[in-house]
């Protein structure tokens, strides 16, 4: 099985995505989405916990217990990111980036620091980082979602208090 069929979700992503009315699109995109224990600890609302637990029960989500080697690599990423003139990453996002590097999983995040680090740090080369914008676009490409993409992006913004760059995926590299 390809590691690309697995993803790992960081806290900012999971909490944002959980408020979207079409949140159940996520399990259809991957064989499993790993949720680090650190991320699970940040979830408090009954609605989000229920959704996560349902997906853990069906196997769409899986718990990821952080190991010493992952945390060690993540701490090095935190330090390296702080040497750049752009926003750094903190340990929770760095753990997901480390998992992305070490296990080949796609990293799901809404943290721009994580995007910057993956783009700018040589030690994270090859790590694939997707935001909700990228996931929704993938869902349309794979036929999991249909209809007007712009309307769906607007729905997501409305449900989550999110703001996508103008022009959707194409607009992100303005």
């Amino acid at each position: 099985m390809s590691a690309e069929e697995f993803a790992v979700a960081d806290t900012c992503f999971l909490i944002d995505w959980a408020y979207w009315r079409r949140r159940n699109v996520l399990p259809g995109l991957f064989r499993a989405v790993f949720v680090p224990e650190e991320v699970l600890r940040e979830v408090k609302s009954e609605s989000t916990l229920e959704w996560v637990a349902e997906n853990l029960a069906t196997g769409s989500f899986a718990l990821f217990t952080e190991t010493q080697d992952v945390v060690g690599f993540a701490r090095a990423v935190v330090e390296r990111s702080r040497m750049l003139p752009i926003r750094g990453v903190d340990l929770p996002e760095a753990v997901c980036l480390a998992i992305g590097k070490m296990r080949g999983y796609i990293v799901l995040t809404e943290n721009r620091g994580a995007l910057m680090a993956a783009d700018a740090l040589a030690e994270l080369s090859g790590v694939r980082v997707w935001r909700s914008l990228d996931l929704i676009s993938q869902a349309f490409r794979r036929g999991i979602l249909g209809g007007d993409p712009e309307a769906v992006f607007m729905e997501y913004e409305e449900d989550t208090g999110h703001m996508f760059p103008p022009g959707g995926v194409e607009g992100r590299n303005r």
């Binding site: 989000t48 929770p92 943290n111 721009r112 995007l115 208090g161």
Partner: protein, 79 residues
């Protein structure tokens, strides 16, 4: 650890400044200023830095709890 790739740094800095301006403009400052000190300071930090995790730690809330506060303060998550 490897070296820093210089490409893209300027683009990220520009995108960060654009996102910061959007958060500043759209935030409900009346709501923010009406909050207790710890929450007010954390919301201001979020407007400037856009970092949900760090702001939640300053607020003394979980990320999910702070995200709810962010929405009530009408600060968009620009990513």
């Amino acid at each position: 650890m490897g070296g820093v790739l210089s490409r893209g740094i300027e683009r990220w800095l520009r995108l960060e400044e654009e996102a910061r301006e959007i958060r500043r403009k759209q935030a409900d400052w009346k709501f923010i200023e009406s909050q207790p000190p710890r929450l007010r300071i954390a919301l201001r930090l979020y407007v400037e830095a856009g970092d949900l995790y760090v702001a939640s730690r300053v607020a003394g809330l979980t990320v999910e709890e702070f995200n709810e506060l962010r929405k009530r303060a009408r600060i968009p998550n620009v990513c």
